[in-house]
Subunit: 238 residues, 2 copies
């Protein structure tokens, strides 16, 4: 049940879009077609370009989004410029839903790890959506739950595992979220540098590089520049 817009006609106007094409990507399962139409009429489409931010932490939370295509990285930057990647958003996921947590500013930065498209609503419609569309409320609830789970898991990992295992877990999580079957194995379907992996696991790009080479030697992974392919997921450490 992976959803994403495989190929997308790059007319970024909403008028071009067939609701029947978009619907399967949206996370609003049990939503009456008329309600969906209503919601789409309030939306705009935003083209997100790799490595650019959709919003930054501290910004006024004036929109919320559903990713249609591409990959978003949700991250925080510390005082001394260090980046910490908290999670990845895949097509079909909501993001920037500050309203769901009673915030009026974004608490994190959303940067595109791979170019794509996002559907975008102004925050003003949030309350109305919540009140009018039970399916929307259900979707936000699910999103919050999934996010909370992921963050908890991350905290536990950081508290108990050592670097090697944390990197392995991060890779496995991405494989699960964005794994593409290829002739060589399961490939993480967007560009990912050693640096990126280190920012996800709280380590250095050096350590990531070392473990990756090591796993490469034992045939567990196969990784090139900005690409990670897993041959034998089961052999990654715990």
């Amino acid at each position: 049940m992976k959803r994403s817009l495989q190929k997308w006609q790059l007319g970024t106007s909403l008028d071009d879009i067939d609701p029947g094409v978009i619907a399967p990507v949206l996370p609003f399962d049990d939503l009456a077609p008329t309600d969906l139409k209503e919601m789409l009429s309030k939306a705009t489409i935003e083209h997100v370009t790799s490595n650019e931010s959709v919003f930054d932490e501290g910004d006024n939370a004036d929109h919320f989004y559903v990713l249609l295509d591409g990959v978003m990285r949700i991250l925080r930057t510390t005082e001394d410029g260090e980046q910490v990647v908290v999670l990845h958003v895949m097509p079909g996921d909501m993001f920037g839903i500050a309203q769901a947590m009673g915030h009026d500013t974004y608490r994190m930065t959303a940067r595109a790890a791979a170019s794509g498209l996002a559907m975008c609503w102004p925050s003003e419609v949030w309350e109305q959506f919540i009140r009018s569309y039970p399916g929307f409320r259900a979707a936000t609830t699910q999103a919050l739950g999934a996010r909370a789970d992921e963050m908890q898991e991350k905290i536990v990992e950081m508290a108990t595992l050592k670097v090697e295992q944390r990197i392995a877990h991060a890779i496995l999580r991405l494989i699960k979220k964005a794994g593409k079957e290829t002739k060589h194995g399961l490939e993480i379907d967007f560009p990912l540098t050693r640096q990126d992996l280190s920012e996800m696991t709280g380590t250095t790009l050096h350590s990531v590089s070392r473990y990756l080479s090591q796993w490469q030697k034992s045939g567990i992974v196969e990784s090139k520049r900005r690409r990670v392919i897993v041959r034998r997921p089961a052999d990654l450490p715990v």
Copy 2:
């Protein structure tokens, strides 16, 4: 604006309770008095005893709670029995709100760090509360937001700070949440062992003990068995 039931008549029946006494502790600020009464009529009171669980991870999420008095620790246990404390719940906070995240089982254990009382509703009334009482929805939204913030912060700390700083941060956070002014300084107002602190920061009780003694020597803290008092918060490392 700290709330808590300073002294509590230990009749655990709800009939004894004056809504006027409980109301200031509850997180439902803008709630009509009649609605409040309605809600209280559906609640029960549970006495939580120090070191006992109110619920465990995996349990069916059949109740949700507001802590009236005492301190709850929210934690996860790893396969090999290690405990990771994710956050502390103080009087006035909701906990066990699995429904707010679309879960039907608890994802974490709630164990009392200090004995107290919790108000308790059966999960069946959740949906009705959400639909009927805007103040209730607002409160859960706030709770989710606060919790998300805290978890994010924790992830960033674990990823970027070293042990010494993480311990300092953990102490400062507890002081902010549960600090009591005493003649000797700001005291964390519930028993807290070195082991507890290590489970909050992903380190060992040994390291916690070492840093605490060190800070003791330089007069920054003053800690006895299960007690931590901070004399000069500003001098704790970053």
